[in-house]
């Protein structure tokens, strides 16, 4: 399965943010999306999640045949966690599982999901508004893991986690990547180099893949910084 982007364009007033983007993302890989502040990483995600209209171009899934990206295909984890704060963690999972019932494969019990995400027993029945930033982020990741969409867009998802949880999350992403296309935006180059199979740079509105074959991490870092500095 591939996510194919063709001639994608987006501008705000006169500012061109995405310029004729052409790219293919493949299943089984984690893509590290790097870009400077304001480069358009979130805009790209918003376009793919159809939160905003694109000005031109298209994107679609190519499996055995070509088809439109459907709502069930995409899971989007934002850098600021978004969870319904009037529910408890357990209630949120119950609701989410109920409305996705026919799509969830190998459904587990709610407590098994909590265990999987290492959410402590005493936190499971607390209101989400009383969860810490990192805990909310865990819940957001968890529901996306449960729904198991083909494409996972992760907008700086690990920055709010402590080092132990961040490691656990990285491990989880590595485990689930074989069935998904994971696009992971981050500012932390070490994280991208450590976790991602491919490094993609968004600069001046275009996507460019960095070839990391046959070079060590230090050279790769320099190469990425040079690419990001290019005016």
């Amino acid at each position: 399965m591939k996510l194919i982007i063709k001639n994608l364009n987006k501008k705000f007033d006169k500012k061109v943010v995405l310029k004729d983007i052409n790219f293919e993302f493949e299943k089984g890989k984690i893509y590290g999306l790097l870009g400077r502040n304001g480069a358009g990483k979130t805009t790209l995600f918003n376009c793919l999640n159809e939160d905003i209209e694109v000005d031109g171009g298209e994107f679609y899934i190519e499996d055995q045949k070509t088809r439109k990206v459907l709502p069930d295909d995409i899971g989007y984890v934002l850098s600021t966690p978004n969870v319904p704060e009037f529910l408890t963690g357990r209630e949120f999972l119950k609701f989410f599982i109920e409305i996705n019932k026919d799509k969830i494969k190998n459904e587990k019990t709610i407590d098994e999901y909590f265990d999987f995400m290492k959410i402590e027993k005493e936190d499971r029945d607390k209101l989400l508004k009383d969860y810490s930033h990192g805990m909310k982020n865990k819940m957001q990741m968890l529901v996306n893991f449960i729904a198991s969409p083909n494409i996972l867009l992760l907008d700086e998802p690990l920055t709010s986690f402590d080092v132990v949880v961040a490691e656990e999350m990285k491990q989880m992403l590595r485990e689930i990547k074989k069935n998904h296309i994971i696009i992971f935006s981050t500012h932390i180059m070490e994280l991208a180099l450590d976790l991602c199979d491919e490094i993609v740079i968004l600069n001046k509105g275009t996507l460019e893949e960095i070839d990391k074959n046959d070079i060590d991490n230090e050279h790769l870092k320099n190469k990425i910084i040079e690419a990001l500095k290019e005016e």
Binding site: F12, D13, K14, N46, N49, E50, D51, I52, P71, D72, I74, G75, Y76, L78, N82, V83, P84, E85, F86, L87, T88, E91, K94, F95, E98, I99, N100, L127, K129, V143, A147
Partner: protein, 525 residues
Amino acid sequence: MIKTFITSFKLKNTYRTNSIIYSIKQLPIIRKILPNSLYKNNGLKIFANIISILCEIIGIFIGKIIYIAAMIVSVLSLYNTNQADTFIHIFTFLTLCGGVLNTYMLNPTKDKYYAIILMNINAREYGLSNYYYQLLKLIIGFLPFTILFGMTTGIPIWIQIILSFFVVAVKLIVMNYSIYRFKKTKKASNENLPTKFVWGFVGVCLLLAYGLPAANIMINQTIFLFVFIISMILGIYSLIKIHIFKDYKKMYKQILTETNVYAVEKNSGTQAIKNVSLKQIELDENYVSNKSGFAYFHDLFVKRHKKILTEAVKKQSVVILVIFIILAIGININGEFKSKINNMLTVFLPYFVFIMYCLNRSSSVTQAMFMNCDHSMLTYRIYRTPKVILGIFKERLRTLIIINLLPASIIGFGLALMLYLSGGTDNTLNYAVLIASIIAMSIFFSVHYLVMYYLLQPYNVNTEMKSSTYKAVQGITYFVCWYMIQIQLPTLSFGIATICFCIAYSLISLFIAYKYAPKTFKLRI
């Protein structure tokens, strides 16, 4: 101090000018034509500046005329008393209410927050100069209307003039008392969070303002003169105390917290507003919902927001019941009052459009729906599928109609009962029309706010309100309802027309919502 005032005035004006340009930029169609560089455009800035200054000038007068007309002049005809004395009596007690509820100085507004907290402008100079400016506006704003309405009710010219100075004196006394309390307790009072004592004081004042004239007891001109002289002496003393007080910075630091400031600016929306909304969530650990899917999700939303949903409506209903009981007693003991109420009920139904508008909870409930629920859920694609959107819409519509129906039914049946007690009507259909039209109005507002919320979803991902169309719809709704106050039409014909309109509007708007909400109900980016 003058320099600080000019700086603060410029700051406020810049903020208001940018808001005007921002509003223009949000207008449908126009927003597509206008570029972002609009804020730099000098011509437009001058235009927005002129509008801003005009707003400031109009703002001096508009509130005062509405206040005097709605709160005093409109009720004068209900009393068979000396009009001049009744005017002075009600004005005096309402001034006492206004004095404790609106001090200007202790109102945590955004412009104070920007200037004192964010820009570190001298708090004393800022607070005092703006306070004096507000008091001056008060005198200028009240004077023409105390003279105008004073002349029509036969109040002597010297009282017409001193009425506005009386208002200022009362405000000064209250402010001085607040400063005195701050000095003693080190706790500053936020005027938007009145204590139970303040509410009690306001309640007693209102009762005395409107109740005593019914028993033909009033503050006459001599007593008023005495009250005025005392308040002027205390007012001048307070002015001196307020002027020499130094710890404004300390006081404002307590009042101007983010939560206080953004609790006032309900429509502007930021993280602070979100925090205010989050406080409305209450966990009842004993409650377990046995519903599933959308119904489960919505059921928990309602249970967790009891404070703004069911409890608020219950409080409303109790107040309405008490008002009806007072009216029923009045009808029984006063023949003239009885015939006036009977007459009112046959022609004043349009007035209830405005009352039903004010009582309807849907506007604040949809805001809570966004802040505490849809803001997060709309980022999930699954939540934006037509099945989910319409499923939750149905649940919400049912709840909004039911909760608003409780006070509406009390009003509907209460009005019919008042009509009966006050002498009845030749046409018995009037009773049914009164009840049905009030209930229809309630359903109309519930449908209207929810449909508008789904069709125009006005908030963005940062919980800021970004839709000028939504604001315009809110403004038009308010204006139409307010306009209805001035209309007198036979209850029967107006009631039937209202019922038909409400049914037609609700059906059409629900049809439109079902068709378009799956496309329009999403986060603004």
